[in-house]
Symmetry: C2
Subunit: 424 residues, 2 copies
């Protein structure tokens, strides 16, 4: 008997019939002798519906007081879900009880709409488990020290589930979603992409941050910090499949070095075309120039991703960086009106048509020449690299958007990911 | 400057545009220098939608554990409303903050789906009012001693508003609804019906219990217990009408005897066709027979309204009572299978086609002959009276349903309610 946390996404909770199927699956696990804590998301579309109503009554940019109200409103989506799932479990003959974040309580800071979990009191939940109940807890939300409801931001239910699993020392946290695991790359781009049976926590963190949408990155960070074994698996398998088969399905995110077989050097290829590139040209090369350019961007609350500063010629240099595509106009205005005149640069260029392609693998730590294999592969395909950035376990390149699929397929092949033998 | 509680029904909160109009009306009151606490209902249709989802995932008859979950789900309707109204008030430039029942907190017993308010802590709300905020509080709900969410049952937001007004010693509680006050009878039946400027608490209590749907009866009881001045008025007047005019509109439910003018003997005519009549025929007339019949009905959680026991002949009597029409089949089964055989009665008759018509007036306390005027009026119209029941300030008769409109119109005329001069 083990304590298991299940997390179900909005699609899995999308209708009364689907909720009944979630209940049947959970009941199967409970009947197999496990203690179950379940964290469901809001029914699909519900959070958007609620925030749409909020925008209709108040179209302005929300201040802190308004963000508190947005959280008050948005949190109800998950509250409905936990009540419905508890009722569905009762209909399956299971003892079940639901709790909101404030009832557990899940304590957070007061950053409304993007709060951080500070602590979880598990006493109440443990008492229910000991009494034989399945416990259903709202994802996405908590309570701050003023007693106000907070939410964790989009995808926050993944983080809630992992946090609950960490607080309770769960044996495993199963994230049921609409894909059946983590793939070497997106199967829609590379049909030969293969599902990984395991992926290391560090690789998953890079994959998540590089645009793989399977898990919210904060949930992966949380899992890493508290070493919560995390498994991504499909909620679209029949609910009554063999439980041992289900327990081994999907992709396990692991913290233990796998001794049994050789680690693949590169585990996966991530990509992202939602960024835009800016280059400030002819920047006087004086100390603090990076801060002057990026400080202004950061002050506008825009996330900068890849940053490259060229060597200088004649006391001037070029400085390039990428930002989310949605911030393209704001950054253009900022550079034109403020940054370029202020620092005495010559001009700037902007390119929304770029993509970022990354190879990720824990084996890169100990293998030389991986990056050069990447560069050679791209060169052989005639693809020009615009920017390069690296970390211990990944190398990212910025390319013209039109080469993205070609680059991903070529790299997937070059690193042997097409072949099952290289899978971990 | 006074502390005023506003309560808005689901229709008033039915769309973002209507919510903005509620906000404009509340802002007008706040700008006039009043402290405002607002209790909005769920958006119209929302509670039904939520409970419909609940029935789909669990169609069974709810036990206590399921009723706890129903409250968890249903309470979200009002939570969304308070957040939206606070946002709409902020859009009007007002400082505003929303609270759920558990945040205030509004403490109740643990009778899920029909909880009773036990206490309200007003410290937090008072602090916000003192800081110049409009405070928006969820109706319909509270928290029990286990920290679970409870709801007060249908129409419970009226009760919440009155309870908050009582706890805070509000100068007045304004119930904004889709009618513009309390009428001498239903204007759809009697076009000559007149809106009353004031009605006594006792009369309102009778009107509410007799089927006038303007206010939930528990809210009237609460107002009586704590002497909260209550006003029913329309939410469909333009939000920007003159505030003094608005403050005097509708119907004031008052606790003070009006000295200025002669009290009408009969204030209003109430009616109700949602009851069915049962007669147990040839009951052996022994002590405890009423308990044996009605005890079985009460045990099935069915409310009995009018009860009449005839004098006995030859040791047998007839025993009649009315119940809500919705319980017709259950009561029929109960009498046939259990009660009639057990007590040795001869048979029973059932009539779903009845109505109850009542005259209500605080002046009946001191005026003789009021009931006989009622009986004479009905006799002159050729209407046969099946049952009669009286209290200090009302007389009710049970009639064949087909006579209902005729009876109401004749009584409205007979007691001078058609003529404006008799209005209080």
């Amino acid at each position: 008997m083990a304590l298991i946390v299940h997390k179900y996404g909005g699609t899995s909770m999308g209708s009364p019939e689907r909720i009944r199927n979630v209940a049947r699956r959970v009941a199967k696990w409970a009947r197999a002798g496990h203690q179950l804590v379940v964290v469901p998301s809001a029914m699909s579309g519900e959070t958007n519906r609620l925030l749409g109503l909020a925008r209709e009554v108040n179209p302005g940019t929300p201040d802190a007081a308004a963000m508190r109200e947005l959280d008050m409103i948005a949190a109800t989506g998950e509250q409905v879900s936990v009540g419905l799932l508890a009722l569905a479990l009762q209909a399956e003959g299971m003892a079940a009880i639901s709790y909101t974040g404030w009832q557990v309580p899940v304590k957070t800071d007061s950053s409304y709409t993007k709060a951080r979990i500070e602590s979880i009191d598990d006493a109440r939940v443990r008492a229910d488990l000991a009494a034989g109940r399945v416990v259903v807890i709202t994802g996405f939300q908590g309570i701050d020290e003023t007693g106000s409801i907070t939410t964790l931001g989009r995808g926050g239910s993944d983080t809630s589930a992992v946090a609950v699993a960490a607080a309770m020392g769960a044996a495993e946290c199963l994230i049921y979603t609409d894909v059946d695991g983590v793939y070497t790359t997106d199967p829609r781009v590379v049909p030969e992409a293969r599902r990984m049976n395991t992926i290391s926590f560090e690789e998953m963190l890079e994959m998540a941050s590089l645009g793989s949408k399977v898990l919210q990155i904060r949930s992966v960070e949380f899992a890493g910090k508290y070493r919560v074994p995390l498994r991504v698996l499909s909620s679209f398998t029949p609910w009554d499949i063999n439980i041992d088969e289900e327990a081994r399905s999907g992709t396990l995110i692991t913290f233990e070095e796998d001794e049994k077989m050789e680690q693949a050097v590169v585990s996966g290829i991530a990509f992202n075309r939602d960024e835009a590139k800016f280059t400030v040209v002819g920047v006087p090369d004086t100390p603090g120039i990076a801060y002057k350019i990026l400080g202004a961007v950061a002050d506008a609350n825009i996330d900068v991703d890849v940053i490259v500063q060229n060597v200088s010629h004649d006391g001037r240099t070029d400085f390039s960086f990428t930002v989310p595509s949605g911030d393209f106009q704001r950054v253009s205005d900022l550079l034109k009106d403020t940054v370029v005149p202020k620092i005495g640069a010559l001009q700037f260029t902007a390119d929304p048509r770029i993509c970022k392609v990354s190879i990720v693998g824990i084996g890169m730590k100990s293998h030389a020449g991986v990056a050069s294999t990447m560069f050679r592969t791209l060169a052989e395909e005639g693809i020009n690299i615009q920017m390069i950035t690296t970390s211990e376990i990944k190398t990212s390149v910025v390319l013209d958007e039109k080469y993205m699929e070609l680059a991903v397929r070529a790299l997937h092949r070059a690193f042997g990911l097409d072949a099952p033998a290289n899978l971990v």
